[in-house]
């Protein structure tokens, strides 16, 4: 088969995936519109337009905020997608995020003498902490074959309570009055990298650039390197990988660590952005971890897909914020996202339908040709 044809087929498959995701988005938006109609028919159209364009109302500020919102969920989405590509379901992103956040906040507050690279060190600390947190389920999976889903869920709660405890017990970090962590040193806040000029007044910072670079790195690892080849092989068939001489235990642990590092990094991004977010001592699992699962699903576990899915979800979340101008609650956005995710799980179904239509068309074309002969 010639290289051209190979490419054709590949891009064909990819476009089917994109189509099914777009289908899910459209269905989700329609359902959202129906809900708007039910709750307040008069304002439904206005509300719907706000969801779609809300992020654009304040010019570039809105877009900058989309980038800011998208940064952590792209990373957690990437974390889930990466693990999924290597045969693991990382439902522990939430715990990894909060542990990463704690590490970055600690470094951000304590290590003031670092100067210019302070924020970078704090970010790295978040990634390392996330990776270390994910080693545990990785080890259990690799050595004792314990389902990573179960250990990850437990690690979420352990992470949450552990961070609560540590924040409370560390006077240097704990803000007694507000029951939350103290602000990090200004040197630890992520630099704006000129984005504040492009998107004036927004919270956009260097985080999105780092996130995009990480997306590209993960994409390259998965598709171009022998390392990615090994990780994917282990995910698809552990026995065959062992037979092929791959150290499958090491691969599983490394996969979990990389996934954990990505989620940890997301935690760092959230709490180093200087937008008034602090680690609150409350018994709530961190949201971004679970949004990551949605992003990964919508992005079909493809790193590039995850990037766009994260941007899209951030976009309508930002738009949803302006829903408050009407008599709607912003939770409608959550419903829309939920419906989108629900329907992206139908992607296989959509793919099959599209494939069938294609085959029918081809058959028709063939029979016509046959008739002409």
């Amino acid at each position: 088969m010639s290289a051209e044809k190979v490419k054709d087929k590949k891009s064909g498959n990819g476009s089917v995936g994109v189509i099914s995701s777009i289908f899910a988005i459209i269905v989700g938006l329609i359902v959202g519109f129906i809900i708007l109609l039910i709750s307040c028919p008069n304002e439904a159209v206005g509300g719907f337009v706000t969801i779609l364009t809300g992020a654009l109302t304040h010019g570039t500020k809105g877009l900058g905020d989309v980038l800011y919102q998208a940064t952590p969920i792209i990373l957690t989405g990437l974390s889930v997608a990466f693990a999924f590509k290597t045969g693991l379901f990382n439902i522990g992103a939430s715990g990894q995020v909060i542990v990463g956040a704690f590490a970055s906040v600690t470094v951000g507050i304590m290590c003031k003498s670092l100067g210019g690279v302070h924020w970078l060190v704090a970010l790295l600390a978040s990634a390392v902490a996330g990776a270390l947190w994910a080693i545990i389920p990785g080890l259990f999976k690799a050595v004792f074959n314990v389902s990573e889903v179960i250990s990850c869920i437990m690690m979420n709660y352990i992470g949450m309570y552990f961070v609560n405890y540590m924040v409370k017990k560390t006077p240097a970090i704990f803000d007694n009055m507000r029951n939350q962590s103290k602000p990090v040193a200004s040197t630890a806040n992520l630099p704006k990298a000129g984005l504040d000029k492009i998107f004036a007044g927004s919270s956009a910072n260097v985080g999105i650039i780092i996130a995009i670079i990480v997306v590209i790195i993960i994409y390259i690892i998965l598709t171009k390197t022998t390392f990615g080849f090994e990780l994917k092989a282990v995910g698809l068939n552990r026995d065959a990988s062992r037979y092929a001489g791959i150290n499958e235990k090491k691969s599983i642990i490394l996969s979990m660590m990389i996934a954990g590092a990505l989620s940890g990094l997301a935690g760092g991004m959230i709490y180093l952005s200087g937008t008034g977010k602090y680690i609150e001592v409350v018994d709530v699992l961190c949201d971004e971890g679970f949004t990551g699962i949605s992003v990964a699903l919508l992005g079909l576990s493809n790193p590039i897909g995850v990037l766009f899915a994260g941007l899209f979800i951030a976009y309508i979340t930002t738009g949803g914020f302006y829903l408050q101008l009407y008599s709607f609650s912003t939770e409608i956005i959550d419903i829309i996202i939920a419906v989108i995710i629900y329907f992206s799980a139908f992607s296989l179904f959509v793919k099959n339908v599209i494939a069938k239509i294609k085959v029918k068309k081809e058959l028709k074309a063939e029979s016509k040709e046959g008739g002409n002969k």
Binding site: K9, K224, K232, L236, G245, L363
Partner: protein, 509 residues
């Protein structure tokens, strides 16, 4: 004589392929009718049509002289058609009895009435010599037993047209003999049997007539008694097939593999017998040594110990004089061992990887296919295309075909291609032809002999006595984890070999 089943002019098309092209199958009452064809010849499609799973584009089906329309398995069942699938359809945590009645339970007032069912099952198993324990769990009984349950399932439903889809593929030689007897008994009782297979010996042993399909076309129906194996295989493959492997005298030289006092203890509780008990042997350059034995006597463990997949308790493995006992799998793979594994789906292939990726599965990290940790896609694809060409591996989309979508024979060819093209001194081939058709078997046998003649040491593990006798230069018989005899294939009869394998005769080693 009247036909009980007549399938006339059946045509079934799938996108891009005509699976059945004007096929005719006529089965008489009380006969065993073999349906012979290579993998992908259209046997399964034809049976699916008979079973109502597919609707044919053209053609009619007559059962007992009446034209019928079969819309699904339920219709087929009503017409008395039953099938033993190649992969059994049993509920593993149900008992034998529960599986047999599943779907047609007798219920009184919402309660299951198992007593009558039990009596009927016991009566049937006595009548047809199908001894089973009705209360045993499916997960606890052997594959042969499970097959009996499948047969009883059909009999319980009063089916009188029985389809066996490659029933012997999963059985040991003894179980095959048993099955053959059962099939003959069923035919004598007036049941009609369609026997799907590509093993000529079995057709010769039980079938009355044989219909041959080739690439979706009907080739003809022959009387088994008056047709020899060569003629049938020629009909099936479309050319003359050499059933006997042509090979010259072996000229063994240096010792390549040396296994010394290997022991693997049984880790299951309550088992004291070693899985591998003090096995020692060697394989030399330029010879094919065959480990013969009945399945489950330690062959799997022995091979996995040599390849490093299973830890050993004591003993040593040497390759070219180098101690390999504690070497990693990767080290063994890259230092002279090639391994065609027993289970191609479990070990041999990453089914969701493409053909190209599977072809370099053992070598993707070498300088030829990678540079500084990056895969060299171009050289991988080029290499894969070379092998596909050389070994005639057929697939839908060439190098980017997912291996899962390929036929078993072509999957095996891909593994064989990968393992023998890779640089090696020792080739371990475990049941390399399992489940393959005559053409593919001939091909793989030729390759093994070629490997031997090119100076490889070949260690073959096989359950097929024909293969053992045809290919090997030396035979080691394994029984309950021990090598009980070493024999010369030229001086031993199949019968004698069978006695060694069954443990009833011990030879000098």
């Amino acid at each position: 004589m009247d036909y009980i089943i007549e399938m006339l002019g059946i045509t079934k098309e799938f996108p891009g392929i005509i699976a059945n092209d004007n096929i005719t199958l006529q089965v008489k009452k009380g006969e065993i009718h073999a349906l012979l064809g290579e993998n992908g010849a259209g046997k399964s499609t034809l049976m699916s049509v008979l079973f109502g799973l597919y609707q044919p584009e053209k053609g009619i089906i007559k059962i007992k002289g009446k034209e019928v329309k079969i819309n699904g398995p339920l219709d087929a069942n009503e017409l008395g058609i039953g099938m033993v699938h190649q992969h059994f359809k049993l509920v593993h945590n149900f008992t034998v009895l529960q599986n047999i009645v599943l779907g047609i339970e007798t219920v009184k007032g919402g309660k299951l009435q198992m007593k009558e069912a039990r009596e009927k099952v016991i009566a049937l198993s006595n009548k047809y010599n199908l001894a089973v324990d009705p209360d045993a769990l499916i997960s606890d009984i052997t594959v042969g037993m499970q097959q009996r349950v499948e047969i009883l399932k059909m009999l319980y439903r009063d089916n009188d047209i029985l389809i066996f889809d490659e029933p012997t593929a999963v059985l040991t030689p003894q179980e095959i003999d048993e099955l053959m007897k059962v099939m003959k008994g069923l035919a004598d009782e007036g049941k009609s049997i369609i026997f799907i297979t590509h093993k000529l010996n079995e057709i010769k042993a039980v079938a009355d007539r044989c219909s041959v399909l080739r690439r979706g076309k009907y080739i003809g129906t022959v009387d088994v008694k008056t047709t020899d194996k060569e003629a049938m295989s020629e009909m099936m493959v479309g050319r003359k097939v050499n059933l006997v492997v042509e090979k010259g005298e072996a000229k063994p030289t240096d010792t390549i593999l040396e296994v010394d006092n290997l022991v693997i203890k049984n880790k299951k509780q309550g088992h004291t017998k070693n899985l591998i008990n003090n096995i020692s042997f060697n394989v030399r350059k330029g010879e094919i040594v065959c480990i013969a034995g009945i399945d489950g006597n330690g062959q799997t463990e022995l091979v996995q110990a040599i390849t490093g997949l299973m830890p050993i308790d004591s003993g040593k493995v040497f390759l070219n004089g180098e101690d390999f006992t504690n070497k990693s799998i990767r080290y063994r793979n890259t230092h002279g061992m090639s391994h065609i594994p027993e289970d191609r789906h479990k070990h041999g292939l990453v089914l969701d990887y493409t053909l190209a990726e599977n072809i370099v599965l053992q070598e993707y990290f070498t300088d030829e296919f990678s540079k500084a940790g990056f895969l060299k896609k171009d050289s991988i694809n080029k290499y894969a295309e070379k092998l596909i060409d050389k070994f005639d591996i057929r697939s839908g989309q060439g190098i980017i075909t997912k291996c899962r979508s390929m036929s078993g024979g072509n999957q095996q060819k891909a593994i064989v291609a990968r393992e023998i093209t890779k640089k090696h001194d020792l080739l371990l081939a475990v049941q390399p032809t399992r489940g393959l058709d005559v053409g593919a078997i001939e091909f793989i046998h030729k390759q093994l002999v070629e490997q031997r003649d090119n100076g490889s040491a070949v260690l073959l593990v096989s359950l097929e006595l024909d293969e053992v006798m045809n290919l090997s230069d030396r035979i080691l018989v394994i029984y309950e984890g021990e090598i009980v005899a070493e024999v010369d294939p030229k001086k031993v009869s199949i019968k004698e070999l069978g006695l060694y394998m069954a443990g009833s005769k011990k030879g000098e080693k």
